[in-house]
């Protein structure tokens, strides 16, 4: 009796674990199948063609793809220096009684749903952008900044965790040699935690690429990529969120699915690089 149960339990758990692999494979297969029509119709031109005209049944993903890259780039450029500053503050500067309340509130802020960051962006931040740079305010710039703020708690928390892995004894040795705080951070903490910091930041980048709600409110969904970031623009998640429920026609749907597939591949690569290249060393160690 108990051997039967034993086998049942072992195989049951194995099946559920395999389910994870199955779901991922299934996601890729379905996305690929659904985008077949668009891939056949537009080929590689889909990636370089900016024209997105549902009424003419002409679809090009250039604006959305470049918009995703641009908004993620802006968010990272704005958020990484601040996140590193917060991490240095939390791990090396802050007095003990500040460390844990500030640290915990940052972690809790990471749990706030991204849709709320988007709402704040639309009602409070877009008007400020409008006053400063003119135009409608709804723009790539606003989206980049809101996205930067949204991923800040995450980037700060993971950078701090990476820095905290530096053994105290190494830091103390450096202080004993007469190092200033900055000497210790630059020559001990950052070299020691480098792989962890870079890996965590790339992980944050992966999140920013796929983030939908924080940017949907403030991007504008205009299929026109421009280096002038004060203009409204779009990105893959923004296009999907705005158009999926309104799409009609097989080709329209198929093009949206192709964008989803491209997004999935982009984030898959980014996350895989972070996990396998940079974070491999530290896994299971904690």
């Amino acid at each position: 009796m108990s051997t039967v149960l034993d086998k049942l339990f072992a195989n049951g758990t194995r099946l559920t674990a395999l389910l994870v692999l199955l779901i991922v494979a299934w996601i890729f297969t379905v996305l690929f199948q659904e985008s077949m029509l668009s891939i056949q119709s537009f080929g590689f031109e889909f990636l370089t063609n900016e024209k997105w005209a549902p009424n003419l049944e002409k679809f090009g993903g250039y604006a959305a793809i470049m918009g995703s890259i641009m908004s993620t780039f802006l968010a990272m450029v704005l958020s990484v220096p601040v996140a590193i500053g917060v991490a240095i503050f939390l791990s090396e500067i802050a007095p003990q009684r500040l460390k844990s309340p500030v640290g915990i509130s940052i972690e809790l802020l990471a749990a706030i749903p991204s849709v709320i960051y988007g709402m704040w962006g639309l009602f409070y931040f877009v008007p400020i952008v409008r006053d400063i740079v003119g135009g409608v305010g709804i723009s790539m710039l606003a989206a980049g900044i809101v996205l930067a703020i949204m991923i800040l708690p995450f980037t700060a928390a993971v950078t701090r965790d990476a820095m905290n892995t530096t053994p105290d004894i190494l830091k103390e040795s450096a202080y004993a040699l007469g190092g200033t705080k900055w000497d210790v951070i630059r020559d001990i903490v950052i070299p020691y935690a480098k792989a962890g910091i870079i890996g965590s930041l790339i992980l944050a980048l992966g999140r920013a690429v796929g983030e939908t709600m924080a940017v949907t409110f403030v991007m504008g969904n205009v299929h026109k990529f421009s280096l002038d970031i004060t203009q409204p623009s779009t990105s893959i998640p923004v296009t999907l969120a705005n158009e999926f429920t309104e799409a009609d026609g097989d080709l329209y749907f198929s093009s949206l699915f192709e964008l989803a597939l491209i997004l999935m591949v982009m984030s898959f690569i980014v996350i895989a690089v972070s996990k396998f290249y940079f974070l491999r060393r530290t896994r299971r160690a904690s």
């Binding site: 051997t3 049942l8 049951g12 559920t16 994870v20 500053g85 988007g118 939908t212 999926f244």
Partner: protein, 280 residues
């Protein structure tokens, strides 16, 4: 200026800049928190809980349908996602351990944990909504459950791994079969950690909007049938906030406030459980 003074000066400047950037980051985050709390409290009243959605301009409009829908969606998704995640995590920690298969599943699951949630929504649209021909609560449940499994799997794996192997060996020595060792010894030892993981997983999916946009869609009226489109706090929030009507926007803030408090509450509860466990 001597070399030492120079180094000290540079150090001071850098530390000053770090503190400043920390202050800047915290300023924005607390600004958002302040906006959320002040708008939320202002919009919150009894009507929000007892009335369903109404056209703009009506006094008697509320979020009842979204609150109920949210509970049904997240609850049902948890009923599916939690057991699957815990069992899969059990396999990795207790059976697969460091085997190639287990490591692969860990990696793929980690990647899936960070997959764009809107893509999960598109996937569920293709496999459930399109064949059925209409949006449904079940589709939303499926999307949320898919997002939940990797989170629960990861924490279960980690937490079971922390249970000392001497405990397992002691149980084996008493002649217990493996499943009994796992259920009665390992699970018991890791209870607090796994529970925290489950709570954090629930908190995580409760705040998701993107996977629900084109699966469970939305409904302005009360509906408890998972075969029909179903309201959720997040999608309602999105629709109301982007509407031009001020009273709808106010309801959107009320929804944002309720949801945030719920999620923060679960997060804090999870932390307390872990703290209590450590304190013992």
């Amino acid at each position: 200026m001597t070399a030492v003074e120079k180094r000290k000066l540079i150090s001071k400047i850098v530390l000053g800049l770090s503190s400043l950037s920390a202050a800047l980051g915290l300023f924005f985050l607390f600004w958002i928190l302040y906006v959320l709390v002040s708008n939320g409290l202002e919009a919150l009243n009894w009507n929000v809980f007892v009335f369903e959605g109404a056209p703009p301009g009506y006094e008697e409009s509320g979020l009842k349908q979204a609150l109920v829908g949210q509970l049904i969606l997240v609850g049902t998704a948890s009923l599916i996602g939690v057991p699957l995640g815990v069992l899969a995590g059990t396999y990795l920690s207790e059976y697969g351990q460091k085997s190639k298969l287990a490591e692969t599943i860990r990696d793929i699951s980690d990647i899936m944990m960070s997959a764009p949630s809107i893509v999960i929504g598109a996937f569920v649209y293709a496999i459930i909504v399109a064949p059925m021909g209409h949006f449904s609560g079940w589709a939303g449940v499926a999307a949320l459950a898919i997002m939940m499994i990797p989170i629960i799997l990861r924490t279960t794996d980690d937490m079971l791994h922390l249970v000392p192997s001497t405990l397992r060996e002691a149980a084996f020595a008493l002649g217990a079969p493996k499943y009994k060792v796992i259920v009665q010894v390992v699970y018991r030892g890791a209870k607090a950690g796994v529970l925290t993981g489950i709570l954090l997983g629930i908190a995580r999916i409760a705040g998701e909007t993107a996977p629900l946009l084109f699966t469970s869609f939305n409904d302005n009226f009360m509906n408890t049938d998972l075969n029909e489109p179903m309201a959720s706090l997040t999608v309602t929030m999105y629709n109301y906030a982007t509407s031009p009507y001020e009273d709808w926007q106010r309801l959107g803030w009320a929804a944002a406030f309720i949801l945030s408090m719920f999620i923060l509450g679960i997060n804090i509860l999870g932390r307390l459980i872990l703290l209590k466990k450590k304190g013992k």
